[in-house]
C-alpha cells in the first residue's frame, strides 16, 4: 500500500485461467502497484471465471456494479466482521 491509501474490493472476470496480478491490473486499467499484492488474485467462482482483487481507492476505476456490464465490477463492501460470541479483550 502506498501513502496509507485504503484499498477497495473489486471483482473481474477471466474465462480462460486465473489471471496474474498483472493481468488483473490490465483488465482494471490500473498499474500493478495499485493492486494489493498481499491479497493477490482470489478465486470467487472459478467455474464462472470470477476473481477478486483489492485496488487503491484513489486509483480505482469507475464504479461498475451492473451484472452484465464490463470485465470488472465494484467497489464492493468490505465490512468489519466479528465473532457471534464472547471475546477476550
Amino acid at each position: 500500500m502506498k501513502d496509507g491509501a485504503p484499498f477497495v474490493l473489486m471483482t473481474l472476470t477471466a474465462s480462460e485461467h486465473q489471471p496474474s496480478l498483472g493481468e488483473a491490473a490490465d483488465k482494471l486499467g490500473v498499474s500493478l502497484e495499485d493492486l494489493d499484492s498481499q491479497f493477490g488474485v482470489v478465486p470467487i467462482d472459478p467455474e464462472k471465471g470470477t476473481y477478486a482483487v483489492q485496488v487503491r481507492s484513489d486509483k480505482a476505476p469507475a464504479p461498475s456494479t451492473e451484472p452484465e456490464s464490463g470485465e470488472y465490477h465494484g467497489p464492493w463492501s468490505n465490512p468489519k466482521i466479528a465473532p457471534f460470541g464472547p471475546l477476550k479483550r
Binding site: M1, A5, I44, P46, W76, S77, A82
Partner: protein, 449 residues
C-alpha cells in the same frame, strides 16, 4: 373455558391428611370426596394441599405454624368453568380464589450461567451411537474459520491432542502470524473444542480470518470480510489440488458475521454485502458449497429478547450476509434442555436474501472449553455452529456419502428434513428453530449409514 385457580381455604382434616402425606410421598394428592366443596370450583385431586400457616397474622408465622396439623389455612388447586377470566369470582364459599397462571423457566441470555456441559451435549446428539458406527470425523478436514486455534489449550481441555493439519491451514499474509494452532486462547479455540464433541477424529484446519490484518482492514479481533474472501479462495484452490484435496470431505465452521447493517455500505448501494446475493463473498460461498465443501454459518446473536448490544436493538431481518445464503446451513442455538436461547437470531432473513433461515438449531450455552475463564459457558450461536459442524464431519466420515455421491445441498436437505421438533413447534419451518434441532441418529437412519 377451563381456568385454573388456586384456593386459600380454612383448615380441614382432609387437608391436613393430604399435606402430611405429601411431606413424605411426592405422588400424594387430595381426597376430594372428603374435602369440603367450594361452589363453582372443581378441585384437582392430583394436587396435595399446601399448609400456609396462620395466614391472617404475620406475627405468628412460625415454622411450627406451617406444620399440617397446626396450619390454619391451606392452598389447593382447582379450576373454574367460565367464558372469560373476568367472570371468575373472588370467593367460593369460605375459600378465596387466586390466579394460577402459566409460568415458564427464565430464558437463557448472555449473562446466564452454563446449562449442562459438553457431555450433556454429546448425550443429546447420541455421540456414542455415532462412534459405534465409526462416525467420528475420521478422514474429514474441519476448518475453523475464526480467531485461530490454541492447540496446547485444546489438548489440556480435551485430555488428548486433537488432530491439527498445519500444512492445510491458512495463514493471513502481512505481519508474521503465530503458526497454525498457536493463536491466543479465544473464540476460535472455543469453536474448535465444540467441533470435537461429535468429531474427535476430524483434522482441524486453522483459518484465523478474524485476526488477519490487511492494509486498511479492521481493528484487532474484528477483521474485515476481504480476509474471509482470501481464506475461502485458498480453501477452494487447496481443496481442488492442494493439501485439502487428500481428505474424504471438508467441513467449514463459521461463527462470525456482521451485527448491524450500519457496518455495511448504505441501503441501496449496489456493492452492499448484508442483503445482496451478488456480493462476491456471497457468490463465493455458494461456489464453495457447489465444490463439495460443507459450509455452516451461525445465525447471529440478534434474537429477541436478549440481543447482543452490538445489534443496536435490531431483531428483525437480523440474519444477514453469508448466514442468509441458501446454500449454507445456518444454525440457531438452544440450550441443553432444547429451549431456544434468547439471543439466537430469528428468521426470516433480511429482505432480498434467502428467507427461511435459520435452517436448524444446535446446542450452545454449556460448560465446555472454558476459553473465557473457569465456569464460563461456550455461548452464542458461535457455539451452536461448531457443534453442528462436528455432527456434519462425523456423518461425512462414512465412506457411503462422499461429496461426489451426496452433495452438500442433499446432505443439508437431509439434516433439515430429519431435524427434531420440540413440543409445540409447527410442521415445517419455524422462525426460532428453523426445521428443528439437529438430530444425528435420525440422519444416520435416513441415509442408511
Amino acid at each position: 373455558m377451563r381456568i385454573p385457580v388456586l384456593l386459600i381455604v380454612p383448615q380441614h382434616k382432609s387437608l391436613q391428611m393430604s399435606a402430611t402425606t405429601a411431606a413424605t410421598k411426592t405422588a400424594a394428592g387430595l381426597d376430594t370426596t372428603q374435602t369440603p366443596s367450594y361452589p363453582g370450583v372443581t378441585l384437582d385431586a392430583t394436587f396435595a394441599a399446601v399448609p400456609l400457616g396462620a395466614r391472617d397474622d404475620a406475627s405468628v408465622l412460625t415454622m411450627e405454624s406451617f406444620q399440617p396439623e397446626r396450619s390454619a389455612y391451606f392452598a389447593v388447586r382447582g379450576h373454574v368453568e367460565a367464558n372469560d377470566v373476568t367472570e371468575v369470582s373472588q370467593r367460593a364459599g369460605d375459600a378465596e380464589i387466586f390466579a394460577d397462571p402459566r409460568i415458564a423457566s427464565f430464558i437463557t441470555c448472555g449473562g446466564t450461567p452454563p446449562l449442562g456441559n459438553a457431555a450433556a451435549v454429546a448425550a443429546k446428539l447420541n455421540v456414542p451411537m455415532l462412534q459405534g458406527k465409526n462416525l467420528d470425523g475420521r478422514k474429514v478436514a474441519l476448518a475453523i474459520v475464526d480467531t485461530g486455534i490454541n492447540l496446547p489449550y485444546l489438548t489440556t481441555k480435551l485430555g488428548r491432542q486433537p488432530n491439527l493439519d498445519a500444512r492445510a491451514s491458512w495463514s493471513p499474509p502481512g505481519t508474521p502470524p503465530p503458526p497454525p494452532g498457536g493463536w491466543p486462547v479465544n473464540h476460535g479455540t472455543m469453536c474448535a473444542f465444540d467441533t470435537q464433541i461429535a468429531a474427535p477424529q476430524a483434522a482441524l484446519v486453522d483459518f484465523p480470518v478474524l485476526n488477519a490484518h490487511y492494509p486498511g482492514s479492521g481493528s484487532y479481533m474484528s477483521g474485515t470480510l476481504s480476509a474471509a474472501l482470501a481464506a475461502y479462495g485458498f480453501m477452494l484452490s487447496s481443496r481442488a489440488s492442494g493439501p485439502l484435496s487428500r481428505y474424504q470431505a471438508l467441513v467449514a465452521s463459521n461463527s462470525w458475521g456482521i451485527f448491524h447493517p450500519s457496518w455495511d455500505f448504505p441501503a441501496g448501494h449496489p456493492g452492499r454485502y448484508c442483503d445482496n446475493p451478488r456480493h462476491p463473498f456471497n457468490l463465493q460461498i455458494a461456489a464453495v458449497t457447489r465444490a463439495g465443501i460443507d459450509v455452516l454459518f451461525a445465525a447471529g446473536n440478534c434474537g429477541a429478547p436478549c440481543a447482543d448490544t452490538r445489534c443496536l436493538g435490531r431483531t428483525t431481518g437480523a440474519i444477514m450476509g453469508a448466514s442468509a445464503v441458501q446454500e449454507v446451513l445456518t444454525l440457531a442455538g438452544c440450550d441443553t434442555q432444547d429451549v431456544r436461547v434468547g439471543y439466537s437470531s430469528q428468521g426470516p432473513s433480511i429482505p432480498k436474501m434467502y428467507q427461511q433461515k435459520p435452517d436448524v438449531t444446535s446446542y450452545t450455552h454449556f460448560l465446555g472449553s472454558e476459553a473465557f475463564g473457569a465456569g464460563t459457558p461456550d455461548s452464542g450461536t458461535s457455539a451452536a455452529c461448531p457443534v453442528a459442524a462436528g455432527c456434519v464431519a462425523a456423518l461425512r466420515s462414512s465412506p457411503k456419502i462422499p461429496p461426489a455421491t451426496l452433495t452438500t445441498a442433499s446432505l443439508f436437505n437431509n439434516i433439515r428434513n430429519n431435524a427434531r421438533k420440540t413440543a409445540g413447534l409447527p410442521t415445517g419451518w419455524d422462525r426460532d428453530y428453523g426445521f428443528g434441532i439437529i438430530d444425528p441418529p435420525a440422519i444416520v437412519a435416513a441415509l442408511g449409514l
